[in-house]
């Protein structure tokens, strides 16, 4: 029998806005570029992590999202990571391809895989845990439900951090949430869809 699981926290970064636990949290200048927007969040949150500036935009998005979601602290180092998106690391793949004619860039090359995001989270929070990165045409709650439930059932973890982190042509869509055995919001398809597309946007 599958045990009850709950969504404990969530963060959305989309359209120059941040929504935290279902409520508007931050709104930036909609005309700002993606890199300006990311830097603004970093400064507003008073973050101190020089490696941030070496990341590609996809990893910057996930780093900021996780800092906002966890307030910079993931106490359970066995917290599993279940992530997905639809375009892999295409933005950085294209940027890297653009350097290949003359001097291929090593610092771009290291970000030409989407699961590097999981590595960045694990390094930042010193996680030693299960992780998976899946590619799906669109946000699909069922892949998270199936995989996360299996992790709990197999007693692989007590906490899971899930994420949909997409970036293409400077359009970004970040939705992160945490799953545990206790909480207020049921972890099911309906609740995930509600959180992913809040009505007050």
């Amino acid at each position: 029998m599958s045990e009850e699981l709950f969504i404990t926290k969530s963060v959305i970064i989309r359209d120059s806005k941040i929504i935290k636990n279902g409520k508007p949290f931050f709104k930036a200048d909609p005309d700002a570029s993606l890199s300006e927007f990311l830097k603004t969040i970093y400064k507003e949150e008073h973050l101190k992590y020089p490696k941030f500036f070496k990341m590609d935009s996809l990893s910057k998005l996930v780093y900021l999202g996780v800092e906002l979601l966890t307030e910079g602290n993931i106490p359970d180092k066995k917290t599993a990571l279940v992530f997905a998106n639809s375009v892999s690391s295409l933005e950085t793949d294209e940027a890297y391809a653009g350097t290949m004619g003359e001097f291929p860039s090593p610092s771009l090359f290291v970000y030409t895989l989407p699961n590097i995001m999981l590595g960045e989270i694990s390094i930042r929070h010193q996680l030693k845990s299960e992780n998976i990165f899946l590619i799906s045409e669109e946000f699909d709650p069922t892949i998270y439900l199936d995989y996360t439930k299996a992790l709990f059932q197999q007693k692989k973890t007590d906490n899971v951090l899930c994420g949909w982190v997409n970036l293409h042509n400077n359009e970004y869509d970040v939705f992160l949430w945490q799953i545990a055995r206790s909480g207020r919001t049921d972890f099911n398809e309906e609740e995930l869809k509600k959180l992913y597309l809040p009505t007050h946007e």
């Binding site: 070496k54 003359e102 001097f103 291929p104 610092s107 290291v110």
Partner: protein
């Protein structure tokens, strides 16, 4: 400080995304890796690319890197002796 020293510091700040760091904050004899500027292995690869792109120097022996990239002084010395542009 020579023009080359300043130029190198500017290139390193720009190429390695050392955000919020100024040229004046990098000492000529400061270690670039480890306790100094804290550069990492990917930064080392970027410095090798920088040598080739800006000064036409191709490193053939990877073991040379440790000595050349010790500091701005050691990089400038090596560039002065080996540059082809």
């Amino acid at each position: 400080m020579s023009d080359l020293h300043t130029e190198l510091k500017q290139s390193i700040i720009q190429q390695l995304n050392l955000e919020d760091m100024e040229v004046s904050e990098i000492e000529n004899d400061e270690h670039l890796f480890g306790d100094g500027l804290g550069l990492d292995s990917i930064d080392a690869l970027e410095l090798i690319v920088l040598l080739e792109k800006d000064y036409g120097i191709k490193l053939t022996d990877p073991n040379q890197g440790k000595e050349i990239f010790n500091s701005i002084n050691s990089m400038a010395d090596f560039i002065e002796k080996n540059r082809i542009r």
